[in-house]
């Protein structure tokens, strides 16, 4: 039997070079978003159109009232601008990429790479999300700013909290999406399950309506789910509905859900891969 040189393993590699792979993957995930600029432009136009519609509906809801559930009309406009801006970055309408890779058997190519599967996909999605934020998110905010004017976080601390919250919202959202996609390991028609999950996400994260507008009982139920951490928390921090000590508590909740979802993803992925190893693709 021949001896082969030991493959490089993590042991002697510095922390910095450990980040080289996720960084490189995220970079490609980012760059890939710019491959179809026309599609991005039409997407932006569509999002703007529905943004206008949503603002009109929300303002009609306010009528002559100065405030609804802590939101001023200006807050509601900012809420709409933010949620429209994050549609693509947070994949609020759903994401089937990993599911497709499993169903087509391409996950074998992923497994032939000596790298963490979840880490690879996370890095790729981080790059994708940032690319979409630049392509679709920032122009959307600009459009809202020009037409109606937005509320902006009041100071450096608020900005820092918002940025942190955006990162955590992406992480929670990605892990949830990945978890749902893992259903493909067990079912060849997991797409239906996925659609149900994205419907829950849209309702529970506050995309359809600010969660503050929902009845007390419904909000109490939602508080026990990770969905608000995937969008609503960020919006409330930005708008200023959540502030002071509550802001830190909200960030802590987001962090907690991120950790919990990460564990769930790892356990589920391991079980899915074990099934693949035994039952084949």
């Amino acid at each position: 039997m021949t001896t082969m040189p030991a493959p490089p393993t993590g042991g002697h590699v510095s922390r910095l070079s450990r980040l080289a792979l996720p960084w490189a993957v995220a970079r490609l995930g980012f760059r890939r978003q710019f491959a179809y600029p026309q599609a991005a432009l039409w997407g932006l136009i569509t999002n703007s159109f529905f943004g206008l519609l949503r603002v009109a509906v929300l303002l009609a809801l306010f009528g002559t009232r100065p405030q609804v559930a802590g939101y001023t009309p200006q807050d509601a406009i900012t809420y709409t601008g933010l949620t429209q801006a994050f549609i693509m970055a947070f994949s609020l309408f759903g994401w089937f990429d990993f599911m497709r890779v499993i169903h087509r058997g391409e996950v074998t190519a992923d497994l032939l790479r000596p790298a963490s599967l979840l880490g690879f996909w996370a890095a790729q999605d981080a790059g994708r999300a940032l690319g979409q934020l630049v392509l679709r998110g920032l122009p959307m905010l600009l459009i809202f700013q020009v037409i109606w004017g937005l509320n902006w976080p009041p100071g450096p601390l608020a900005w820092a909290q918002v940025v942190l919250s955006v990162l955590l919202a992406w992480a929670c959202g990605f892990l949830f999406r990945f978890l749902v996609n893992c259903a493909a390991f067990w079912s060849p028609d997991a797409v239906g399950f996925g659609r149900f999950a994205w419907a829950l996400l849209g309702l529970g994260c506050g995309f359809l309506m600010p969660l503050a507008f929902f009845p007390e009982g419904f909000r109490a139920v939602l508080a026990w789910t990770p969905f608000p951490a995937m969008l609503n928390t960020t919006v409330e921090l930005w708008v200023g509905v959540t502030g002071g000590g509550a802001a830190w508590a909200a960030l802590g909740t987001q962090l907690g859900w991120t950790v919990a979802l990460l564990l769930a993803c790892q356990v589920t992925l391991r079980a899915g891969l074990r099934r693949l190893e035994v039952a084949g693709g």
């Binding site: 021949t2 490189a24 032939l112 000596p114 790298a115």
Partner: protein
């Protein structure tokens, strides 16, 4: 390099739905054993569903067998998958590992980080492969815009940048024209010779096998039917040789004792025979004046077709 002993793998599939659901088991690989030394190119053949890809998946660590022992370069693939896959390369002709929307060079750069290839080594390999495979003209083209031949060349380079010692090739020339096939076969021969890369080639293209493999494994219904070199396969199981004869004048009766007459037109005849050609030629020329004759060798395709069709080897000849 590869040691496989008494490998078995059974799949269970569910049949029917709900109350009528039952289970059916299917033995994909039954008691397969073989050894492949370092630096060899082996053709792994078999009809669809014979157990080829199950074996390859086990060897790459993607499937765990029910029983049997596998050692690849000293590792059990599925027990230490990440370390194992770091040392192998794979090209699946029907799929690409390149990033679809991005220039080819970006995918190749990413591999430097995936496999932690030292910069100098990566650069040296890239320029060697760029020369050998003529990647230059399309390194900066998005993968989606490549022709099939270009894509395959880029995928080959991607599979070899990290200096793997073992390369799995699955249909590496499928759908390519003759020139493109040749270029890929030359490259595989080159890296096998120069770098001692062991190659396991699964293919339906017997041209690939004839050009590349010194040895073939034939599997069907999960069982290894043949393991040996191509010449031995041909000698032992080849169909009969053919003698094509053109007579000087029309011959009413072309029958020659000791030869099987396959075809007869006035003036021409085709005979089948085994062994050396001298004796059949002497018999035919004694029978009638001959203007021209040719001996046609059985082609490997016909031999293998006969093996698949169960004419041979079913009795368990190894």
């Amino acid at each position: 390099m590869i040691h496989v002993e008494h490998l078995r793998k059974t799949f269970t599939t569910r049949t029917g739905r709900f109350l009528s659901a039952g289970r059916r088991t299917h033995e994909a690989v039954r008691d397969v054993s073989f050894h492949i030394p370092r630096g060899e190119i082996v053709g792994y053949l078999g009809p669809n569903g014979a157990g080829k890809s199950t074996t390859v998946k086990i060897l790459t660590g993607l499937l765990v067998p029910d029983s049997g022992a596998v050692s690849v370069g000293g590792l059990t693939p599925w027990q230490d998958r990440r370390r194992h896959v770091a040392r192998l390369g794979a090209v699946f002709g029907q799929r690409t590992t390149l990033w679809w929307d991005l220039p080819v060079i970006e995918s190749l750069r990413l591999l430097r980080h995936v496999y932690r290839i030292p910069q100098g080594r990566w650069q040296a390999n890239l320029s060697t492969f760029t020369d050998l495979l003529d990647l230059g003209p399309f390194l900066h083209t998005p993968a989606r815009a490549l022709s099939l031949g270009q894509r395959m060349r880029a995928d080959l380079a991607a599979a070899l940048l990290h200096d793997p010692e073992l390369l799995f090739l699955d249909e590496p020339t499928v759908g390519l024209d003759v020139v493109a096939k040749d270029r890929i076969r030359d490259f595989i021969t080159h890296i096998n010779r120069e770098r001692e890369v062991t190659v396991l080639l699964t293919t339906h293209d017997l041209g690939d096998v004839e050009r590349l493999a010194r040895r073939v494994l034939i599997i069907d219904h999960g069982q290894l039917l043949f393991d040996g070199d191509l010449a031995r396969l041909q000698a032992a199981y080849g169909s009969q040789r053919e003698l094509h004869v053109e007579f000087s004048e029309p011959v009413p009766d072309a029958g020659v004792p000791g030869l099987t007459l396959l075809n007869h037109e006035p003036g021409r005849a085709t005979y089948a025979f085994t062994g050396a050609a001298a004796d059949p030629i002497a018999r035919v020329t004694a029978h009638a004046p001959v203007r021209d004759l040719t001996v046609r060798e059985p082609d490997i395709e016909a031999t293998i077709r006969r093996i698949y069709e169960g004419d041979l080897l079913r009795a368990g000849v190894r």
